[in-house]
Structures are given as C-alpha cells and as structure tokens.
Symmetry: C2
C-alpha cells in the first residue's frame, strides 16, 4: 500500500492510499457491506451512482455464510461481488462477541457460537487472517480482545495486554505468510483499545504503533459514551499514531462525528448509520435529519434536500418516498440508501477539498451553520 | 388512442398502440406496479434498464393509500412516480373481492372493507372511473361483477348480465365525463367474463363488444382452471372481439401462456409472476425455470442464463445471487426482478419480430425446443 499525506490543515489530513485494487482519497467513509453487499444496493450503485471508494465487509458473517473458502474459490470478495475497488474486512471478533450467545475469550483466542446455526467456532489471531486471505480484502483488521462494559480495571488491563500480544502474533504471522506468497497485496491494521481512559489508550497506542503495521485503527469508541468523551479520546490518541500511516476510527458515526474527528486527525471511517437509518426512514440533509415517515411529507413535492444532486433527489419527491415507505415497498430501501450514502460521500469530498484549500475551519463552521437554520 | 395492426401471422398480431404518454408495441407484457411501483425496482430500472413500455397499477391499493386525490395533486401516476410512459389501471373490483374480509356486490356496485384499516367503502362503475381519472392512467378498466367459484349457473348468468349493465353505465359515464373535459386522454376497456363456458363467454363478448370501448379484455381466466381450458376459452373468444381494437388477457401468465395466447390473437398481458417468482427464488431462462436457492448454485460462477444479456446476468453469478438470497439481502430482490422482467420483455419482443416476419410458428417451436434440452 502506498500512502501519501497530500495536505494538512491543523490536524486534519487529506491523504491518498493506493491499494492493489484502487486509489482511495481521504477523508473517506466506508459503507458497510456486511454480507459482501451494501444492503439494498448493487455494485453499479456503489461505483457509478455513488462513487464509493472502499467498502467494509464483515469477516464473521462471510466466514459463516457462504464460507471464506467459497469466497476464495469465486475470486475473493472482488470476484464474488464484481466490485473492483478496495475492500476492508474487520477481524470478526466484534461480531463473535456481540452476535453470539456465548463468546469466551482466553489467551489464545475467542470461542463463540454461530448466530445462524449455533455451531461452535474458535477465532485466533492467525485464524482471522487466514479467513481474510481467503476473502482477499485490501485491508485486514487484526483480532483484539474485547471486554463487556462495565469491567474492572484489572480486566481492562488484561484486555489491553492480550490485544498487544495478539497484535504481535498477527504481524509476525502476516509477514511470514507474505514471505510464503500469501496475502502479498493485503495490508494489515492494528486496533488501539483502552476505552475513554487516557492511561490505557496510551499504553495500547504505544505498544501497537511500535509494530510494523500498515495502518492503525482506534477501536472501542461509539459504544454509548458521550460524544465529547469520544472526541477527547480521539484528540488524545491521534498524536500517538504515526503520521505516515492511515488512521481509521472504527464504527463512527454521525455526520457531526465525522466532521469533528477529521479535525482531530482521522482519515477513515465506517458506520452502518447511513444505510440503517435510511431503512428506518431517517434521511440526512444539509440542514439536519428528517424522518420521511412524517405525515407532513405526504403531499410534499420537493426532493429530500433541494441542494442534493443524488440519484434519488434528481428523480423523486418526498411524497413518493413517504408513500413507498408507508407501503413497505422494497424500492424505498434502495432509493433512501442511495441518498444517505451520497450525503456521506459528498460530505467527505467537501472536507477533503477544504483541507486541500486550507479552509477546514470555514468548512466546519458552514456545516454547523446550515443545521441551525 | 391510436391503434394499428402492423402485421398478422395466423391469428397472432403485432400492433402499435399510441397513448397520450407513449407508443406501445405489441405483443406487450405489463409488469405489475401495485402501489405505483414495480416491487424492488425504480423508474429508471423500468425505462433504461428494462425498456418497460406500459405498467399496470392497482386502483384498489392506490385509492386506499396514498389516496387517489393525493395522487392527482401530485401530478397523477406519471407525476407521482416519475415514470413517463403509459399506465394501465385495473378497476379495483378484483382486489375489493379478493383482499377484503367481506365484499358484497349488489346491482349498483361492491361494498367492501379495507384490508389496511377495516374501513368500509363502496365501488360503483362511476366511482372507479372517478378514481382512475385522479390516477390519470392511460387505460382504465371498468368495474365488473365477480363471482366466487363454484357458483350456480343462475349466479353466473346474473354476473354476466350485471357486468353488461355496469359496462353500459361505465361507457356512458366516461363519454359524458370526456364531454366535460375529464379523462379526455384516458382510454376505457371493458372486460369479457363467462369463465370457461362458451355459452356465457359468447353472451358477454357480444354484449360488450357492441359498445364503444377503446379496447377489450378477457377476464376471469388463470384462476386455477387447466391450461388447455384457458387456451380454448381464449381461442373461442378472440374471434368475437373487434379486430381493430386491442385485446388484453388479464392476469396471465407463464411464458408458455404468453406464447400460446399470442398465437390465439391476444395483444396485451399482465401478471405478478415474473416479479413475485423472482422474490421467491424462481428465475426464468431460455431453458426453463431454475430455483436460485438450490445448493448446486452455491459455487456456480455462470450467470443465470448464458444467453441472457440483462443487467444482472452481465454482472453477477448464480453463486452471488444464491448467497444474496440465502442471506435475505434486499439487493437480491432487485437483481432477480430485473432478470425475470427482462426475460418476459425479451420474449415479447421476439414474438413481435416473429409475427412481423411471418415466422410465429417457428418462433413457438424454437421456444419449446430450448426447454426440452
């Protein structure tokens, strides 16, 4: 992976990341394609109608169905889906932890049961990389030891320590694999943990950033803490991360979260919010969120957002979308998802332009001003 | 409406039908867009990706939600949906009969309860035209008196007689409306009833075809009778219909049904089959139907049909569609619906070419031969 910082504006960065499959300009938002598909959209929606640069797919789900070996036989994620740009895959650890009835971590890995059929599985640092080799993602995330909160400081300290040990195993395993010709074009990112506690964040960041990863993520945020606590943690953590490697804030977030965290030095984001909210009727606009279910939209002939030039806003009225939502028509989900993702991608593109022009502060002020009208 | 018979081949006809919104070449298949949307597809799918010429929308559903007055305020079906080509709307009688807990016909109309909220409504021949004026469809169907089978011959005779009386009221009401400037560009079709009984079909056809309708439909078939009984009834009925007006066989059917009934002189068809089957996993191909759920497709890298050039077959494998279906991904429904409708439209286009070339018999033979391989 080639990585270049094209410009900085304060701590905000505009970077270029070149994988074996595509060039990614940051700040970048990665839509979530859990089962090798962004819900309700197809490959051409992502490329031609949205300009998605990189898609996140979930290792846990694909490992269970259709199985990573099957995906490998079908040409990896790129061949399987027909999406030719970049993929990032998570480690599967978070889903093993959150979707399974039982998830038992020990020093070697995580034992869990499939949420589909109840079968037992064991994820280790090497195992989740083997799966991701089969998936052929451009960026692989390593396994980390997650802790159910609230937890004692002893348990958190163990988690940080275990995550560091697993990271060391992961990078050693990956470099050895590459030496054998496996995963040669695949990049590997570590995940800094430590909740909102500066003490633990510092330990985790320093230990992981000393290792030869291709990039680093900040994990364990956006799990219910106050927004300001998230922003403070990111602000504290990014200076501990190398400037010459990409920085990825996992599972974040709202448009406000993106704007705030770009300012604090984050390059990459992913979140189910734009697509999940779309399906629930919540649509993003330059002036804030609207709920398309609302009766006031029943006869509203204007588009979702007058200033939006997305596929949906160029074709359909709020009234039609309100009707499709109420009639539970499948078509609604696609049109709404196209709009929300277009909103996110456009926001990221404008943030990048602002950074390149040295005008991020003005961009941020304008972003908030429009929402107060 | 301008109507021209471009060519005939035996009884098969290739016609051109010009409405206020578009030119329709027959034989034509109308996809069903119950709630002013063809399930899982959008307007651009219909026009650019499929070339749909005319869409059927359901009066009953749109009357109840969002309400025909609302649709009128939003520019009728064309303005509401953004689909600029032709719409045909049914009378709503069939749905009032089939979706309602109670449906009581009397000499003036049909009393029924909404399947959405249980509210009571009364459809009369004039009322369903008023609704269709609000919807602004290019072709309106008149109300007919449906009978739950089995029924006595007395009840069937009453139904035929009542349908004829309602037809007379409908055409008189419509011509009077047009004289007042309402529905000027809208066409009106009557529906020949009589089940599979030649006696009743003849009475119904002769009575209705003596009136000044813009076209005629054959109703009450594809309701469980044997295929051959349907074909025989159509074969008996089309010679009773005027040659200079379009002939529409309602709610039919399978690809085989289309091929057989075109041969018997039918111009227009509608059916939920291609879209509903798509959603259930049944996909149409030149060699017959396949069920994409089947385990044998899990690693099948070929498209649904090697000879198909639809949006989906040009992009995705059976393996990917099998995965999307099994993972219950929304994207599946659109990709499968695009394929099945493309199959139907292509079949109709080839039937037309065959008729124009005077080679319908060879076309039909080839259609069946491919299925026997």
């Amino acid at each position: 992976m080639q990585f270049t910082v094209d410009a900085t504006d304060g701590r905000a960065r505009a970077c270029t990341l070149v994988t074996a499959h595509s060039t990614v300009r940051t700040p970048v938002f990665m839509p979530v394609g859990t089962a090798a598909v962004v819900k309700a959209l197809d490959t051409e929606d992502l490329t031609d109608r949205l300009g998605a640069q990189i898609v996140l797919a979930n290792t846990y789900h694909l490992y269970l169905r259709p199985g990573d070996a099957t995906v490998a036989e079908l040409g990896g994620l790129h061949g399987f889906t027909g999406y030719g740009r970049s993929f990032l895959t998570d480690s599967g650890g978070f889903q093993a932890f959150s979707l399974s009835d039982i998830a038992r971590p020990d020093d070697e890995g995580i034992l869990f049961r499939s949420h589909i059929d109840g079968s037992s599985h064991y994820f280790t640092p090497a195992k989740v990389l083997d799966i991701q080799y089969n998936l052929g993602s451009d960026i692989m995330m390593i396994l980390d030891d997650l802790v159910a909160l609230p937890a004692t400081r002893e348990r958190i300290a163990l988690s940080i320590d275990r995550t560091t040990r697993w990271a060391a195993r992961s990078i050693a395993y990956h470099r050895a694999s590459q030496a054998r010709g496996i995963g040669v074009d695949q990049n590997i990112f570590a995940i800094i943990q430590g909740g909102t506690d500066p003490h633990f964040r510092k330990i985790s960041a320093e230990a992981l950033c000393a290792m030869d990863f291709d990039g680093f993520a900040i994990g364990g945020l956006s799990v219910g803490e106050a927004n300001q606590a998230m922003y403070d943690t990111v602000e504290f953590t990014t200076p501990l991360m190398p400037a010459d490697k990409p920085r990825y804030l996992m599972g974040v977030g709202t448009p406000e979260d993106l704007v705030e965290n770009i300012e604090r030095g984050v390059d990459m984001f992913d979140c189910v919010m734009p697509t999940r909210n779309a399906r629930n009727g919540t649509l993003f606009t330059s002036f804030g969120k609207i709920n398309i279910k609302a009766a006031k939209f029943k006869k509203d002939e204007s588009p979702i957002d007058e200033s939006c030039d997305c596929y949906t806003c160029r074709r359909h009225s709020r009234a039609y979308l309100n009707h499709l939502y109420r009639a539970r028509e499948l078509t609604y989900f696609r049109l709404a998802s196209l709009h929300n993702l277009h909103y996110y991608f456009t926001l990221m593109g404008r943030a990048r332009e602002a950074i390149l022009a040295g005008k991020y502060a003005a961009f941020k002020r304008d972003f908030y001003n429009k929402r107060q009208k």
